[in-house]
């Protein structure tokens, strides 16, 4: 099985779907001729033709609206928003339109659009090339929200997203495009040799709504998604505490069964995400877990998150949760 980094596995997923389904059509800013600023669409226009893989005007709202129209008229558009920070001009089209069209039309029209977007920090992107706005989509019924973390799950989840008949917002942790990123900017491994970077060339899919148990343990449940999954892995090793590490993969609908099962076993929980704390998706996790597992919990659910501030540039390592903060939170859950 070839080793792929996440740019390659995303590219491979897109290629796979273009090859299998003529209704799949793709566009975005700098997406066609150039192959995308992160190179995820490299070579696709050459291979599949410029009527299937093309550049769009610099207009996220227009991209979303056009995809909507194509989607309700039988195509299966996959569009790229160049950075997740720039998805907001399309927010109305996504939350008021895509999310609701199946319902509002009594099921007469639906919108099988996939919106891919690189998200998260760690590339010195400052305010507007670092945000991780997943929570702002999880509150909207009708959308599915996916956040991949490895080359393997990127491909499998992306194929599921494209094949899904509902609109899916698909976040790709840009910090992990070329390596797993353990939170230390001075030590930057590539995906080479990583087991989750063994990616089949052929079609496969990972069902939406299914979490991945990245590590198994007994004393604490650590829940995360995106780049932070790797930070958690490192933190768990540092902490010396035996932990389940749940990579949520899909945020809406999330895999409650996996989470509840783990918490019932461990009685302790830490949730980790990059986005600001207040109203981040960690809040939903914590609220739901205490609802469901109140009597199993032996200590407060901890959240380790980005601060409630804009994302900084030079000092981003004081912003993003690192292994130390996560390890300390794990330790804290073990206190009483």
């Amino acid at each position: 099985m070839p080793n792929m980094n996440m740019v390659e596995s995303v590219n491979n997923a897109l290629d796979t779907m273009l090859s299998r389904d003529n209704d799949v059509i793709m566009f975005g800013e700098d997406f066609g001729y150039f192959g995308g600023v992160f190179r995820t669409s490299d070579g696709l226009q050459d291979k599949h033709g410029k009527h299937r893989v093309f550049d769009s005007p610099l207009s996220e709202g227009g991209i979303a609206a056009t995809a909507f129209g194509m989607g309700i008229n039988g195509l299966r558009p996959v569009v790229e928003i160049q950075f997740a920070d720039y998805i907001f001009p399309a927010y109305d089209q996504i939350v008021n339109e895509m999310a609701k069209v199946r319902h509002r039309s009594g099921g007469e029209f639906w919108c099988p659009v996939t919106i891919r977007t690189p998200a998260g920090g760690g590339i010195r992107g400052g305010h507007h090339h670092s945000q991780s706005p997943e929570a702002q989509f999880t509150h909207t019924p009708g959308l599915k929200v996916v956040y991949c973390s490895t080359p393997y799950n990127a491909k499998g989840l992306l194929i599921s997203a494209i094949e899904d008949n509902d609109p899916v917002i698909f976040f790709e942790p840009k910090r992990c495009y070329r390596g797993p990123f353990y939170g230390d900017p001075h030590n930057v491994p590539t995906w080479s040799g990583h087991p989750e970077a063994e990616v089949p060339e052929s079609h496969y899919s990972i069902p939406l709504g299914q979490a991945r148990l990245a590590l198994e343990g007994s004393q604490c449940t650590v829940i995360s998604w995106g780049a932070m999954v790797h930070v958690c892995e490192r933190a768990i090793a540092e902490s010396g505490v035996s932990c389940d590490l749940i990579d949520l993969q899909t945020l809406v609908p999330w895999d409650r069964e996996a989470v509840v099962k783990s918490i019932e076993k461990t009685g302790r929980c830490v949730i980790v995400h990059e986005a600001p704390k207040t109203s981040g998706f960690g809040a939903e996790m914590a609220a739901s877990i205490q609802e469901r597992c109140f009597w199993s919990l032996e200590s407060p659910i901890e959240r380790v998150t980005g601060w409630d501030t804009p994302f900084p540039h030079t000092t981003e390592w004081d912003y993003m949760p690192g292994p130390d903060r996560v390890a300390a939170a794990i330790a804290k859950t073990q206190e009483d």
């Binding site: 909507f68 129209g69 194509m70 195509l75 109305d92 089209q93 029209f109």
Partner: protein, 413 residues
């Protein structure tokens, strides 16, 4: 700071007439025959006169003339007239029922009946319609059953929107009439995507969409024109300039009051048409369809008309404009004008008109009676509240299943 402020340091536009003012419009400088009908493969630059002028076919003498005369048969015109009359009678009935609480809300097409009806008649059945709330009339052209329309509006068990959206938010896939959405403007840019999908599939399908003068200030308007021109989408983009966006006059939507010309810099052939002139509307739309169908890309049309009634059942226009103002509109009334033209050409009479009107009246009344059998908003039965949970997704995930069960518990307790 207060000292520096002049009395009116900002330029704030106003409406030309406010309550208490004498209503009146300048006479139109445009007549039928003024404007040529260019070849469909013309360039945007060849449509400047069409965008700055006004395409008319029906003259003040009720005769049709000029290159734009679509030369419709008497039957076609009578069909158009009948649809328009049906829409007006239907609207009046719904409005009465709204006053009695049988529906929560209503919006009439009063004064603008020609728009969707003439334009849809100029299209082919395979063409997609992406309307606002002001184009329900297109459904009559596409053969929708009135009972089913009423069932939607009165929110009963048979509402095909299943009680989810407000009245007038029709959806009618069979007639390729795409679900109406409340946020104004969104359909305009989406329609370009619908059209591009048809193009991608290599089908002879054209998409038509509409936006209001007010809503043309949304970003979606710009997205639509830009994407349509760049990718040469087979789409017909109409700005229905009925002079008002609720209480806000079109002077707050455009400085110079011409919406048609906005298409030109995008390289889109653009036309302004008298929106109360059934024949002109038909003709311009047929021209635009031919352009789209021949792979020549989008057409931008300003439909010049006047919102004769209130914005909606929640609105009271006497607070912001003279009550009789619509009767002064130089474009007159679209039904009157087609009726008079038909009389002029010998295919119609006041008696026939009266008879048709009565026929439709009883048709509407019958449809209404049939519809209320399935319930109405005042009395129910309503669509099952199970419909809150279905079709949110293709199939309900666990959290919706769970909440659905909980809702049932409360509902059925």
């Amino acid at each position: 700071m207060s000292e520096e402020h002049g009395a009116d340091p900002l330029h704030i536009p106003d409406a030309p007439h406010r309550p208490g003012d004498e209503a009146g419009f300048v006479e139109w400088p445009w007549s039928p025959g003024d404007l040529e009908r260019p070849d469909v493969d013309c360039d945007a630059s060849e449509t400047v006169a069409l965008a700055e002028g006004l395409v008319r076919v029906l003259g003040d003498d009720n005769k049709s003339s000029g290159e734009w005369d679509p030369k419709l048969s008497t039957e076609e015109m009578i069909t158009g007239l009948e649809h328009m009359m049906r829409l007006r009678i239907f609207d009046d009935r719904m409005m009465k029922m709204q006053r009695t609480g049988k529906l929560s809300f209503y919006m009439r097409s009063f004064g603008e009946e020609a728009v969707a009806i003439a334009q849809t008649m100029a299209l082919k059945d395979q063409d997609w319609l992406f309307p606002t709330y002001r184009q329900p009339g297109a459904q009559f052209v596409r053969g929708r059953d009135m009972v089913s329309m009423i069932c939607h509006c009165i929110g009963n068990e048979m509402d095909n929107v299943k009680g989810r959206q407000m009245p007038v938010h029709y959806t009618y896939r069979e007639g390729r009439f795409i679900s109406v959405s409340s946020p104004v403007g969104t359909q305009f840019s989406q329609a370009v995507g619908v059209a591009l999908a048809s193009g991608y599939k290599g089908l002879d399908e054209v998409t038509i969409t509409w936006i209001g003068d007010g809503a043309s200030a949304e970003g979606d308007y710009h997205y639509a024109l830009n994407f349509a021109s760049i990718f040469q989408a087979p789409v017909i983009l109409n700005v229905v300039n009925n002079q008002w966006a609720i209480s806000t006059h079109k002077n707050f939507a455009s400085k110079n009051g011409n919406f048609a010309v906005r298409g030109l810099p995008y390289g889109i052939p653009s036309v302004r048409v008298d929106g109360n002139d059934f024949l002109a509307l038909y003709s311009v739309t047929a021209w635009a369809r031919e352009r789209a169908s021949r792979g020549l890309g989008p057409t931008h049309i300003e439909v010049l008309t006047y919102r004769a009634g209130a914005h909606s059942s929640s609105d009271d226009p006497s607070r912001y404009r003279p009550s009789d103002i619509h009767s002064h509109w130089p474009g007159g009334d679209p039904i009157d004008r087609l009726r008079e033209h038909l009389k002029e050409t010998g295919g119609w009479s006041d008696e026939m008109h009266q008879k048709l009107s009565e026929k439709i009246d009883s048709e509407v009344m019958a449809a209404y009676k049939e519809a209320v059998k399935f319930g109405d908003l005042a009395n129910g039965p309503y669509p099952s509240s199970d419909a809150i949970f279905t079709e949110v997704y293709e199939s309900p995930p666990w959290h919706l299943e769970e909440q659905w069960d909980e809702m049932k518990k409360w509902r059925d307790s």
